[in-house]
Symmetry: C2
Subunit: 341 residues, 2 copies
Amino acid sequence: MMTQKPETTIHDIAKALNISASTVSRALNDNPLIREATRKKIKQTAEEMGYRPNVMAANFRTKRTNTIGVIVPLINRHFFSSVISGIEHVAYQQGFTVTISQSNDKFEKEDKIAHTLFANRVDGLILSIAMETQTYDHLKLFSDRNIPLVFFDRIVDEIEAHKIVVDDFGAAYRATQHLIDQGRKHVAMIGGPLNLSIYKNRQDGYCKALKDAGLDFDNSGVVNNSLTREDGVKAIRKLMKAPSKPDAIFCANDTTALSAILYLQENGYRVPQDIAIVGFSNEPFSEVVTPAISTIKQPGFEIGKKAAELIISQILKKEKTAKFETITMPTELIIRKSSVV
Amino acid sequence: MMTQKPETTIHDIAKALNISASTVSRALNDNPLIREATRKKIKQTAEEMGYRPNVMAANFRTKRTNTIGVIVPLINRHFFSSVISGIEHVAYQQGFTVTISQSNDKFEKEDKIAHTLFANRVDGLILSIAMETQTYDHLKLFSDRNIPLVFFDRIVDEIEAHKIVVDDFGAAYRATQHLIDQGRKHVAMIGGPLNLSIYKNRQDGYCKALKDAGLDFDNSGVVNNSLTREDGVKAIRKLMKAPSKPDAIFCANDTTALSAILYLQENGYRVPQDIAIVGFSNEPFSEVVTPAISTIKQPGFEIGKKAAELIISQILKKEKTAKFETITMPTELIIRKSSVV
DNA sequence: TTAATCAATGCAATCGATTGCATTTTTAAT
DNA sequence: ATTAAAAATGCAATCGATTGCATTGATTAA
């Protein structure tokens, strides 16, 4: 079999042209110190010799990897994969590489991944924390050493960093208000774990809307769970067994909204006539279910783009003085059949 | 502000313990040459000194990155994100990092990404090629240098490598046969670009099923396009304008199946009564649309796991002699309402 | 023409871990 | 106790690109 031909290095090029390796290095990096003619000749020779820069050597020397780490709860989830897609889009344009991991909503895995990415010297980290996560030492690892950090969606208040969120409170408020506008009096809610601010905010928005409308807020009208398809079924079952049945439900995601709709239909209720439903996130299925699910659209791709832009600008600028900002991306209440008779 | 405290290196540890750096290095890597007691002491000191290995230095020296590159057409696509999820799952267990890029189905981007990943010295590459891709020099880059390569789904016949596919031919055959079993006589097809073998195979399976059933194969009964939602609408419109209207349609993906269903419903046709539909891929929405779409389920997560296993085993074993195999993963025809009256 | 200035290029150290080979220490056997 | 064998550790080169500083060559002003 063929033996690996050894890679050509800048030293080989230098030798071939009878110049020094430093000049070659500078020329290839378009350093203005090098004369145009020299640069041209060097680049041409490099081309001819099939030179491929050894990125690892450069990274090692410069202490930069041009790599952005990303941790999401689950890659295989429309919102998150959209965000990743946006991140990758921007990162690629700027010459960065994106390394992706999923926490599976487990703290332990998130912790290990963070350490791995740290050890791999990613230039920055973009993440949305796991449902389980309640302590943040693994993230302080980054912030303590001034490695840029950007949170999106599921953010951490305790750590100073750029954060990208949507106006969960406002969106939930408008969703609930919309249900009330439809004449509903008993608006229940299926909510997520309250240690995550997004779910807390959605719930607060829901409560505020009820209060502002002068509707009684009855605690039994809210069920919190982890928002899976199965948990959704348990939740809707519980809600329908309560003494005062709801005539509308605001769900903290579309998955549980779907659970609710299917359960209700199977049990002889009509959606939206008997019970109106609004979800959150605008999953691809929401548009095509019958009835189509009214929901809050979150701009996943844009969030990803913004996150990448923020982290790259932090990576590139030396000044670590930057004020950290929390950016709120716009949402849109999409009204479909599930909430309007 | 605080100044960056310099990282501790193995030399620092060596100095602290008055031993050599090589011993430290070996101890930390659990090299059996080092005595148990020594190892223990070293590890403890490393811990105390807050030692963090410089992965870049190690990578540079060992010429391995423990990184697997992945290129998919679009991250934000259920099948692909499922595969990625599977890849990440296995890679993580084995201590590998996964770098992900999307080609957006553009050859040019795929080409650039491949070069970037190559320059970054990924230990292996897993990919599903872009619709546009017709030449493979950017992939030979890897195969020529014995860098493991695994194709999945959209494979390349011209390059020797492990390949993971599903039995597109058989699945399409069964899907078509299923439609014929329902008494349909004019089964049309919405197909993909034929330069991709998966679409070629699906089309061949469809044709074979028609022939075996003694049904006339009428060329006007097939429309090929790039299988987007919009193209699906164009395709179904074209099919319905043809002189002999179909009474069933096999679609090469669920997206176009959905296009067809929505178009037909808007235009007064009943699905499945007037026209039966079968899709391909089992997208999340397919189950919940009305009517639910009959489709072929592809095990994305499993494909990802298998791909990762294959590439890692290649990376770890020195022998480059391995016979390349093409693994066919099982599919399942899921019969739902869209094809059965 | 000569010194002074600026533009190009070269020298050599450096980044931190790994590893083949040499050397020392320990263990076992006589 | 002595030596051979085995086990543990150390030495020093190495990976390839980068970069501060030194040096050379070219240009300009006096």
